[in-house]
């Protein structure tokens, strides 16, 4: 019990004083996971759009496969990436193992199924009438896809935020591809695992609080977005009040 209490006060001290080690680790976490999410969105949104708007044999199987990969274990992705990125692997030439860039790649592989799958369901929640209407107004195929994606923007944003949540909270890829090298690839989750093993509970708790704070910010943003989508948004955006 005393461990927890003293650890908690030590953690507050580390956060309030902006301890450089803690901040460096938190910022690297944000950098890796945000970059992975943004890059994943560049793949997921067009990919989701393509799958949604095209009919091809095996489409249903592909969707089931994507949904199955929602719950792929992070260590399996880590293993796969390790084999691909290690010196003797097919992408060994790039020397991405034990680098933040390798971790970004790993987290992208991890979250692309989730973001793509949720982009797909976001798009299918858009009324078929919308795309018919767009076509009737003279939209090209590409303009139709872009506009339907815009219509689904709130749901797509939630999909990306969820993907970010999975990326920043995972340990497997960060540990196996990053290697938890202090000052280079040590992120919040790997640091917590290590410091807890070393008995440095204060440090771990501080990082845990930061991780939870990030989660809280994510939840708040998501709530703002979804409530905005439902009602208040037009008021904020300057629309006239409903008569």
């Amino acid at each position: 019990m005393s461990d927890i209490i003293s650890g908690f006060f030590q953690a507050l001290n580390l956060i309030v004083t902006l301890n450089p080690d803690v901040m460096q680790i938190a910022l690297l976490s944000l950098y890796v996971s945000l970059t992975a999410t943004v890059l994943a969105s560049f793949i997921s949104i067009p990919l989701g759009g393509f799958i949604h708007f095209h009919d091809f044999p095996g489409k249903r199987i592909l969707i089931v496969l994507i949904q199955t990969l929602y719950s792929v274990p992070t260590v399996v992705v880590g293993l796969l990436l390790y084999l691909v990125l290690s010196r003797s692997g097919p992408l060994g030439y790039f020397g991405l193992l034990w680098t933040p860039e390798g971790m970004i790649l790993g987290q992208m592989v991890l979250i692309i199924p989730i973001t793509t799958g949720l982009v797909l369901s976001a798009l299918s929640s858009i009324d078929r009438n919308i795309s018919d209407t767009l076509i009737s107004l003279g939209a090209t195929g590409f303009q139709t896809v872009v506009q339907v994606i815009k219509e689904a923007r709130f749901a797509i944003l939630s999909a990306l935020i969820l993907g970010f949540g999975r990326a920043i909270s995972e340990v497997g890829v960060a540990m196996m591809i990053g290697g938890n090298i202090l000052g280079q690839t040590r992120v919040l989750t790997t640091a917590i695992a290590l410091q807890t093993g070393l008995g440095d509970f204060g440090f771990s708790i501080a990082l845990g609080i930061i991780l939870l704070a990030i989660a809280l910010v994510i939840v708040i943003i998501m709530n703002l977005i979804t409530s905005g989508a439902m009602g208040d948004f037009d008021r904020i955006m300057g629309g006239s009040p409903r008569a």
Binding site: I130, D132, S136, A139, G239
Partner: protein
């Protein structure tokens, strides 16, 4: 093209109307003016900055019309534009449709299940049954000269009687249906098997006790009321006069004349109100 259920994008009304122009690469400076005038036509300029999904169904439908109109189409397709609207909004949309047609000479093709709406709005009507256009014509042609039994039923003609022309003097024919003789106008010759189509609003009913006055109504039949079905402010009365005749009269007159099921009545139909078609020809054959 305007769909039955208007789909608006989750953005402002003005942006919604501008879509067609944006897709066509019209410059922003031009877009604003054209969007504004399209919104003025449909009477929604005051809502241009509102988020479109917050509008009522009637307003959305008007946005959808403005959105189609802004591209200055030569032909405007409307798929049951009033099907999901209350009568007041439906009236407003109908007025708008007429106004667009008169002002811009836009050809408008609209589908509807509402026969009366078709009569009100259309210069020409095509009746589609079983996926095929079965008759095209003016409202009068469709509703008073339907080409066959199915179309007649479709456009609200309830009474179809089969008989034979027994005499014809210069188009003024006598037609026997069982023991009853009708007078009607037709060029068809004596001996032709025919079907008589009688719209319910053309059938007059009077209590059986009434002394028959001299009117232009030539065909009088006595019978009994077998069925009374309310139909808005009207009531559809089926009278068995040796054959079933359906009449549409106001509820008020029905009450005043004391009509009830079983009451004796005299039914009358003007010779000019009977539409005669030969039975053996074309679509009239059934």
């Amino acid at each position: 093209m305007v769909f039955q259920k208007p789909a608006v994008m989750n953005t402002t009304v003005a942006d919604n109307v501008a879509f067609g122009l944006r897709f066509r690469g019209v410059e922003r400076s031009q877009r604003e003016g054209r969007v504004r005038s399209a919104l003025e036509i449909v009477g929604l300029p005051h809502l241009s900055s509102r988020m479109a999904p917050t509008l009522s169904g009637g307003e959305m439908q008007r946005v959808a019309i403005a959105r189609a109109l802004v591209t200055q189409p030569e032909v405007l397709l409307l798929d049951e534009p009033t099907a999901n609207l209350d009568p007041i909004n439906a009236d407003m949309i109908e007025d708008l449709i007429l106004q667009i047609n008169r002002k811009f000479h836009t050809t408008i093709i609209l589908s509807t299940h509402d026969m009366i709406q078709g009569q009100r709005l259309a210069d020409r009507i095509g009746v589609i049954m079983g996926g095929r256009i079965v008759q095209v014509g003016t409202a009068t042609e469709i509703f008073y000269h339907p080409e066959g039994r199915d179309i007649a039923r479709f456009v609200g003609t309830d009474t179809v009687l089969k008989g034979t022309v027994t005499a014809n003097e210069g188009g003024h024919a006598t037609i026997a249906i069982g023991d009853t003789v009708f007078e009607a106008l037709t060029p068809l010759r004596t001996g032709t098997a025919v079907a008589l189509y009688i719209r319910p609003e053309e059938v007059t009913l009077a209590p059986a006790t009434t002394m028959l006055q001299k009117t232009s109504v030539r065909n009088h039949l006595t019978g009994r009321i077998t069925r009374m079905v309310p139909y808005g402010p009207f009531i559809r009365i089926t009278a068995d006069c040796g054959m079933p005749l359906v009449a549409l009269i106001t509820r008020r007159s029905s009450t005043e004349l004391g009509f009830t099921v079983g009451a004796g009545v005299v039914a009358g139909v003007k010779a000019t109100a009977i539409h005669v078609l030969p039975v053996d020809e074309g679509r009239a054959h059934l």
